[in-house]
Symmetry: none
Subunit: 283 residues, 2 copies
DNA sequence: ATAATTATGTCAAATTTATTACAGAAGGCA
DNA sequence: TGCCTTCTGTAATAAATTTGACATAATTAT
């Protein structure tokens, strides 16, 4: 039984001042009761003890209890529809790792998107689509795979995509090829790697634009970047999840594809032809 | 400018504890801040002064002012007829690529999980957790990154993880090391690669257990496998999405971790020690 | 390795808020 | 009208929340 219902059922037992309050409460429910008891009393043009008495008549022990009840109602009302997919996988108990994981992942996605600045996203798309800039990609121990994935896809879209070697000893050498205005895409999640930070510092001094993919705690590299993406990586396991990171990578690629369609389409066609010729791929 | 936006724009100026708080706040916004400052602090697992400082950093004179601002927002939100839960990203039209993508991805996840046989999943976990079997991993042009990712994580969990070389010319040679009863994990999505099919055939003849990650149209390799996962890869772009594939990989890893915890925990500890020793990683 | 700096929590003071007691006001009834 | 009952607000009190000062822990720089 909601607070509003309680009020309605006992309305006839109320005194005039209490009805005044009840009306105010129902009129802009449940906002009126968000603040202090004094604010509510003032809104309804009654005294605080009147509010007190009304609340007790409704069965609450005090104002805090009343407010908590309203808060809980609000939470229910505003809770996201996604949460209703309690478990997604078929015939599997909710405790199964698959369901635990899917809950985590959707939470991560939702939260990451809430924090994401869309303008920043669009800016990065523009930056990476600028054919005058070469793009250099580097990842860490875990994130190496994402750097690889990004490179594979970007190479189809445009030219001048370079992946930094896996061994950090070779980075200074590679940095000679990186010119001012080029873009360096760095993947760095905890535990943050010292070599990557050093690389970012050097690149920043050379006026290289840095785009960073990191986690919700932000790699220290953040301070050298022009744009960064913070991807939530929480997972019900000892490791972190890269799903949100991959999601963002693919979204970026899709956005770039749209932006660069004329060039992309011809490059794609060429690629298809090459595949057909080599016969490595089945139709 | 909403409180959420303020948090997002100043997120990188926050200290770790403040970020913890900011995340909690955004995670269930604006419900988390409905109660007292102490409740909020407890939820975010920080102290009340930390909440205090964060709020002041955001430009509020104190907690009551902060809460009033949130209340005002809530009033606006609840009186606003537009359902803001329709799209996930903030302040972005529903047509933005981010929202299109998130819709696709959640659909892919839902559908893939519906089709997934949980028993098969558990069987694969058992298979990969069997320390008597060596594990060999191979991916194709696009899926190479996933093979890499799987290998990186499995190597932490257990020994005898091998990645097949990128060049398919070396595969027959590598196959000599693969013994009967070993597991070969193959990633193959369209366009399916002829070399991978050949490899699967050979491996099958040698009584190697094959676990396949493929898409909803199923790679021809499926007929040689003991278990396969069909991951929906639909995306609103010219390319396919690997998000579901990554999701399954991580779920597998999490499940294996749980199963092999004794061994995993000691390996993890050793790994941490090595990291600390090399100093390559920041704390 | 050590010092300086920064970050964070504990605790106590200050402020605000909720609650209670009580007195006066309003309305009903002889 | 005058008395009684019920209602309502003022003001004092109790409880709680918020805020600030400070010490300790953690981090960073030297």
């Amino acid at each position: 039984m909601t607070v509003a219902e309680k009020i309605r059922t006992r309305f006839d037992q109320f005194t005039p001042a209490e009805r005044e309050l009840a009306n105010t409460l129902i009129a802009n429910y449940p906002m009126a009761a968000l603040g202090t008891i004094m604010e509510l009393a003032h809104q309804a043009k009654v005294s605080t003890p009147t509010v007190m008495r009304t609340i007790k008549k409704l069965g609450f022990t005090g104002f805090p209890a009343f407010q908590t009840a309203l808060h809980d109602e609000l939470k229910q009302t505003l809770s996201d529809p996604i949460d209703k997919h309690d478990h997604w996988a078929n015939n599997v108990p909710a405790e199964h790792i698959l369901n635990q994981f899917v809950t985590s992942i959707t939470n991560n996605l939702r939260q990451s998107l809430k924090q994401l600045d869309p303008e920043s996203f669009d800016d990065v798309v523009t930056l990476l689509s600028d054919k005058k800039r070469s793009i250099h990609i580097v990842g860490g121990r875990i994130t190496h795979a994402f750097a690889d994935y990004l490179q594979t896809h970007l190479q189809v879209i445009r030219k001048d995509i370079h992946m930094l070697p896996a061994s950090s000893g070779l980075w200074p050498h590679h940095l000679l090829n990186v010119r001012e205005g080029d873009v360096l895409v760095i993947f760095d999640v905890r535990r943050y790697e010292a070599d990557l930070l050093e690389l970012a510092k050097l690149a920043n001094e050379r006026n290289v634009k840095i785009v960073l993919f990191t986690d919700q705690w932000l790699s220290p590299i953040t301070s050298y970047t022009t744009h960064y993406f913070s991807c939530r990586i929480e997972a019900p396991s000892g490791w972190d999840s890269g799903v949100v990171t991959l999601f963002l990578i693919e979204s970026l690629i899709a956005a770039m594809e749209e932006k660069l369609w004329p060039e992309t389409s011809s490059r794609l066609k060429e690629l298809e032809d090459i595949f057909d010729f080599t016969g490595r791929f089945k139709r």
